[in-house]
């Protein structure tokens, strides 16, 4: 890599955004972003889930085109319409999901698609020489002929970084690079990031781990609801100041009145030392009529916990008791039979059979109720479904395909399915993801109505506001464990975020002994 890549006056920002805005179908996800990233710096980007970090980085990387504003690289206004165009101007992204060919060697992966060749034959010696030059420059200790599939994740990320550098990248976007790494590898990757900056490259680091951002970055930008809150030198920031900047909205009137809960109400669900894939020992209980919120970051293990409770993932240890008795039948059928219901995270992948009608989707998990000796009683089905759809406020012919409904109405169809059978526990995983504001209120009403009927409710949500608006009690999940339980006055956005973002060693009530990020 020659030094001409690293030219440009030090005063001029390497990449600059001026008044950038982006919206999807009427929803504004970024508005009026002014951001300057200095050459050779490590620039952090933080914010809650959905604050717009990923969208912002995608605009720089050429995966999205901004609706408003302009993007300047070395002072030159540009529009990237594809990642290839961005790469042509030195901008590369290291995604969370690595895109390497596991069966090829390190050097082959690094030069994949741009092998030095003569007459169609790869010039191996030349390839090796270039690889050595690249490694010498970055100081990575990687063997050129090691097979990538056998490397640990942190080393694979190094390969990914080298590949970006081999393609001439001088501005590297890293989206949650340490999310999949364990302690030692995190440190290795941090060293990679530092060495990139030392060699004059610029790194835009998106991370949920505030400690990491504070340790690595020179400058940090905080986003909230698609707005830029501030950009400041990390030296003048602390974890608490960043968290404060990330939150700060008043709770609107989108949420219905919470029902009363009685501390003496029967315990509906009791989970004891639950261990399952992604769940590392979880204990809690839910009372009748209570709405418990499971908060935490994406990937913290919230969905894994509810799937382990529901029986849709293998339970390795621990007990789940519903209504005082251990479940008689195992598995999902047993869970449904005992009065549990899970509205899964993804309507389209896990909830609905999109090719089928609304009616069939409502009755799918409860056909026994409207059938006799295996025969579906069509009249009973029609009457039952029309009643249920009325309850969940879905209008229109129920014989039409469920795929034609809006996201909100599709979600309501799943609630109708839940309502078809008397329940004791309802689990709703991300109930309003991709749902328009109008339907949101209707879904919140449904959740509160469930609770009012003495059903225990667990709501999993990445939207802290939603959790606060609905739940009587909040459990914060991190690394497959419950690391904080918040109730009453302590149930604030700040406390949830502090717990969710907390790093090992950070002091808070539950004394989190969190090692794996």
């Amino acid at each position: 890599m020659s030094t001409d890549l690293l030219s440009g006056s030090p005063q001029q920002p390497h990449v600059e955004l001026r008044g950038v805005g982006k919206s999807f179908g009427g929803t504004t996800i970024l508005s009026d972003i002014d951001l300057a990233v200095a050459r050779g710096s490590i620039h952090g980007l933080v914010g809650e889930n959905g604050a717009g970090k990923s969208s912002l980085s995608k605009i720089v990387a050429g995966l999205l085109v901004a609706d408003q504003g302009e993007l300047l690289v070395d002072g030159e206004p540009l529009v990237f319409r594809s990642p290839r165009e961005a790469l042509a101007h030195g901008v590369a992204t290291i995604a969370q999901e690595l895109a390497l060919v596991p069966s090829l060697t390190v050097a082959q992966n690094v030069f994949l698609g741009r092998e030095p060749a003569a007459g169609g034959f790869v010039q191996r010696r030349e390839l090796r020489a270039r690889f050595d030059a690249l490694v010498a420059e970055t100081g990575f200790d990687l063997r050129a002929d090691a097979v990538v599939g056998s490397l640990r994740t942190a080393d694979q990320q190094k390969v990914e970084v080298l590949r970006a550098l081999a393609s001439g990248a001088s501005f590297i976007i890293m989206d949650e690079p340490t999310a999949a790494l364990s302690g030692q590898d995190v440190e290795r990757l941090h060293e990679v990031v530092r060495s990139l900056a030392r060699s004059g490259r610029t790194v835009l680091l998106i991370s949920h781990f505030l400690g990491e951002v504070l340790e690595l970055c020179d400058t940090v930008t905080v986003l909230r609801d698609g707005h830029l809150v501030r950009t400041a030198p990390t030296a003048s920031e602390s974890e608490s100041s960043l968290i404060e900047a990330m939150l700060g909205r008043s709770l609107g009137s989108v949420f219905p009145q919470k029902g009363e809960t009685h501390p003496s109400a029967d315990v509906v669900l009791r989970v004891q030392d639950l261990v399952a894939p992604g769940v590392n020992g979880v204990s809690f209980s839910v009372r009748a009529g209570e709405i418990v919120g499971l908060a935490g970051l994406v990937g913290a293990g919230r969905s894994e916990i509810v799937h382990a409770i529901f029986g849709s993932s293998k339970r390795q240890a621990g007990t789940v008791t519903l209504g005082g008795t251990a479940r008689a039948r195992r598995g999902i059928a047993g869970a449904l039979h005992s009065g549990m219901f899970l509205i899964p995270e993804s309507r389209k992948d896990q909830g609905l059979v999109l090719q089928r009608s609304v009616r069939e989707n409502v009755t799918l998990s409860n056909l026994a109720r409207i059938s006799r000796m295996g025969w579906v009683q069509r009249r009973a089905e029609r009457l039952e479904v029309s009643g249920l759809l009325k309850d969940v406020t879905v209008a229109g012919d129920d014989r039409r395909g469920v795929a034609h409904l809006s996201g909100g109405n599709q979600q309501k169809v799943l609630f109708a399915r839940a309502l078809q059978h008397p329940r004791r526990l309802l689990i709703a995983d991300e109930p309003t993801r991709g749902v328009d504001i109008g339907s949101r209120r209707a879904i919140y009403d449904l959740i509160v109505e469930h609770a009012a009927r003495s059903i225990g409710v667990i709501v999993v949500s990445s939207d802290v506001e939603e959790i606060l608006g609905l739940a009587h009690r909040v459990l914060v999940v991190r690394g497959g464990r419950i690391i904080a339980e918040l109730e009453g006055e302590r149930m604030t956005e700040e406390n949830i975020l502090v717990a969710a973002f907390a790093e090992a060693g950070v002091d808070h009530e539950q004394k989190a002994t969190q090692v794996n990020p």
């Binding site: 999902i332 059979v353 998990s365 209008a395 012919d397 039409r400």
Partner: protein, 326 residues
């Protein structure tokens, strides 16, 4: 409430219009056009004898395709039906010669059941792609059939008791057709009216959603494969009774006619969509093409080419309708 009324009306009107999806009845138009064209073009076509003859010839294919529809809807594919058909035929013939027709029929049905069950278990419990499982199974089954016959033709020309299975006239129609009608109607009803039918659709349409709804997806799929195996055996029995001879064969032509009929009928190769009546129309459409070519004296070479083109068009429409829905 009053000012909301027009909005509700508007949302109702759209879906109502869409309700009879063109896709579900699409096969009827080419079928009717071909039927009318053949009626006009050939005086021998629209004749009860010719039409009943077509049904008699197609009875095995129709039964196997009806059961195969269940497999496709549940998200699998069965390429072993041709070989299973041939093995059942030779088993039925061989056992009939040695122990009588009742034993022959039962033995053949058991063969079909076992092949179908093995297909289902391997493809679901062991999670091997059913395309590969049933392809491998078709080689095994065809090999076993050769072992049974020793390479000879199984001849039953003197067994009038076995011939009675398919050749007895009842109300002017042969029993081969009656058996086919009963089997196809039963399979059609199972799919359209029972909880099992619903589960088949769900298992193919979205297996994860079906699982989370408490459906035993594997059991449902195994049932589909088992019925497919039994139907193939029944087809083998009926055809052996019709022609009174059987021989070992991989049955590739039958397998592809069956699949072509199902797909031309509009059942999705990706699962979750389809109906037995559509398969019936699809199989008969292909049969009419063959019959028409014979009646009009067109070279048989063109039949194959035409069949291939029809199949491509059908699969193309299926894929295109998915693209449009995105």
């Amino acid at each position: 409430m009053t000012d909301k009324q027009p909005v509700a009306q508007a949302t109702l009107a759209g879906p109502r219009f869409r309700q009879v999806q063109w896709r579900s009845v699409a096969i009827l138009f080419p079928f009717l056009v071909l039927f009318i064209a053949l009626s006009i073009g050939s005086p021998r076509f629209l004749n009860p004898l010719n039409l009943l003859n077509i049904l008699d010839q197609q009875s095995a294919t129709l039964m196997i395709a009806a059961a195969g529809t269940l497999v496709l809807i549940s998200g699998g594919i069965d390429l072993s039906v041709g070989a299973t058909y041939a093995l059942s035929a030779v088993v039925a013939g061989t056992v009939t010669v040695s122990s009588g027709p009742v034993a022959g029929v039962l033995a053949a049905l058991v063969v079909g059941l076992v092949v179908g069950l093995v297909n289902g278990v391997i493809s679901t419990v062991l999670r091997v792609n059913s395309l590969i499982v049933t392809l491998a199974m078709s080689f095994i089954v065809a090999g076993v059939a050769s072992l049974v016959t020793g390479g000879n033709l199984v001849v039953l020309f003197d067994r009038t008791d076995f011939a009675a299975i398919a050749r007895t006239p009842f109300l002017g129609v042969r029993t081969s057709i009656w058996i086919m009608v009963v089997v196809v109607v039963v399979i059609g009803i199972v799919l359209a009216r029972t909880t099992t039918g619903r589960y088949l659709y769900a298992a193919g349409g979205n297996p994860e959603a079906a699982r989370l709804a408490g459906i035993r997806v594997n059991a449902v799929r195994i049932l589909g494969f088992t019925l497919s195996g039994v139907a193939a055996a029944l087809g083998g029995i009926v055809d052996t009774s019709r022609v009174l001879s059987a021989q070992a064969s991989p049955g590739t032509a039958l397998t592809f006619t069956v699949l072509a009929g199902i797909v031309v009928g509009g059942t999705s190769i990706l699962g979750g969509e389809g109906a037995v009546w559509r398969t019936v129309v699809g199989v008969l459409f292909i049969a009419l093409v063959g019959n028409g070519f014979n009646l009009l004296g067109v070279d048989a070479l063109f039949q194959q080419i035409t069949l291939g083109v029809i199949l491509l068009v059908a699969v193309g429409i299926d894929a295109w309708s998915r693209v449009l829905r995105r």
